[in-house]
Amino acid sequence: MSDEGESAPKKERKPPTKKVPIPEQPPNVRIRNFDEVALGYSAEQALAEAEKCMQCRNPKCISGCPVEVPIKDFINLIREHKFMEAAAKIKETNSLPAICGRVCPQESQCEVSCIYGIRNEPIAIGRLERFVADYARVKGETLPKLPPKIGKKVAIIGSGPAGLTCAGDLINLGYDVTIFEAFHKPGGVLIYGIPEFRLPKEIVTAEVDFLKRLGVEIKYNSVIGKIRTIHELMNEDGYKAVFIGSGAGAPNFMPIKGMSLTTVFSANEFLTRVNLMKGYKFPEYDTPVKIGKKVAVIGGGNVAMDAARTSLRLGASEVNIIYRRSREELPARAEEVHHAEEEGVQFNFLVNPTEVLGDEAGNVIGMQCIRMDLGEPDESGRRRPVPIKNSEFVMDLDTVIVAIGNSPNPIIPHTTPGLDVSRWGTIVINEETGMTSIPGVFAGGDIVTGAATVISAMGQGKNAARGIHAYLSG
């Protein structure tokens, strides 16, 4: 298994290699179902991909990972056919590998700094992570040996990526961990937001179940700030520290006319009806989801792609992404955009809605938009879209889904005196420790950063777990 490339550098250079392709459901089939699009590597495919890894002495990939996965080591274990050990190696730092392997933007994190990737396509770290996580889950993972209990209770608010990561790290350190979840199922955005075809709910459930087997307790139907406050958790219920990972809960709407029409939906509502409440199985499940024939999704992020692709699967005949900047600025992952295009989603760049038009009953009948041009860069570094005068036009539509981001949910800030929040309503933390303005209360994920990615929330959950451990050890 020696790497010939390294031992014979003078030899004529081989042409650049590509990643071993991942099998996928063909687009014309998958738009008729909610099954997962990517099907995952076989053992042979994983071995072939892992074989290319150069096992760099000073690997760069790991520093690109917010949760510090020992990438070089786990890939080496795959090369040695030790798939179970590889999975256990990842779980030393990442509680949710089957999820990360599916939804992380590896192209801008670990894989972007892959040294092999300088000349070739980088090693498919995400696909390999997914392979070993799936392999271990099916085989049945054994629990790692945990240190003796410290005897201190920590409360985690929210069972999304930040909360689960924080919980996983703390239980591995010997704390007693209780997660308070507002919904009836664990996973936060992994359950209500990301669709089944991108992240099967069974995977989320299994990852959470592993944490439960480690001893993490989850209390469902518990809206902290309503049924119990953070001060009560600490002063009456005996929790020594609290981590707030409640997410960016409140959907943003555009300040234009027609936003309250009955067939305008926030992406949150639309996706929650479909994913958490299984609206795509109505009437077997009681929650309906209303979808028309001609749909516009406003926004260009991953959530917009999810909403657009979900609309197609529910039977919409025409789905448009409406994005005010150009293709280059799309915040969604390239892979999601690619999948959406393959499935027939139409992209309307440099277009901004100015009014949603409705009939007497409140149904959408169209949307007036204006064309945009890119001007000078704004504070985000992206070129600012500016409207082109007299370029208004009307799109013929019956459904509008608004996916332009979320604002922080106000319930916890409103019920927690002394908790510092920014002018946007996000919770202010010490970047290093993750601690808020209240001693012993930590926060991370979208409630701190505003809407961001699963993995950045996980990184913050990990950082806060470290902060909590330092705080409670001090």
Partner: protein, 295 residues
Amino acid sequence: MPRSPLAGFSRCIPMYEIVFKQVLNPVTKMLVVRAPDIAKVCKPGQFVMIRVNETGERIPLTIGDFDRKKGEITIVFQEVGKTTKLLGSLEKGDYILDFIGPLGRPSETEKKYGTVVAIGGGCGSAIVYPVARAFKEAGNYLITINGARTMDLLLYRKQMEKISDEFYETTDDGSCGVHGFVTTVLSELIQSNRQIDLVFAVGPAPMMKFVSKTTEAKKIPTIVSLNSIMVDGTGMCGACRVTVGGQMKFACVDGPEFDGHQVDFNELLGRLNAYKTYEAESDKRWASQAGGASK
């Protein structure tokens, strides 16, 4: 793709037991549910979200009453569709799968306003009752107007009468009390130049709309409790958005109570009707499958 052996993982949730059931009239039922953590902290005017079973939808129900010592919450609901019929088919000893709360902002009942007119329409009377009682206890002069389509549907008649300084009943068909709507009595009170400091109304959206219209000319402060469609009930989905004073509000976190003069009722009515065809389909399916007898 590989199927996980852990697929059927268990939920460690305390289920919510029904400890008492009363049929208030042919279409309205009262359930007393054991939910001690909610009962400990809830206040009048707040609501719970419930999901009856695994395939169920989440619906908001305003808390009718609560008993902190016993750890119990009372809900009263009219059977209008599949979910409320399913809920109504449960008996004492049965369980509700999910019961989440207390949500929304509480009513402001501790204040002394002077003369308060509390108006309940249909099932809304059950929600108005504890709030009206609190108004009375805060030292207000309490006038209640209890309305329904017909006499059989009038709720909480004795209880309401007992706590009220003045008590009126109205029925659309004249089978009991004043022949007309709650607004018939309200208009008369206003026209007779009675001092009214606050009107509090809960009932079907059209009733709340007309109550608000009735009090608008004399600018009598009017509070209504909205029954918007919700999915999560915690500010996350925006399904319950409603225009209040020209601004978008979420009934679940900013309400459910709002200044009736500021609410865009036409928009609310449109949004309430958004799922009518789906509701009818579910209802039909329920009737044919179970005849209302399954659980």
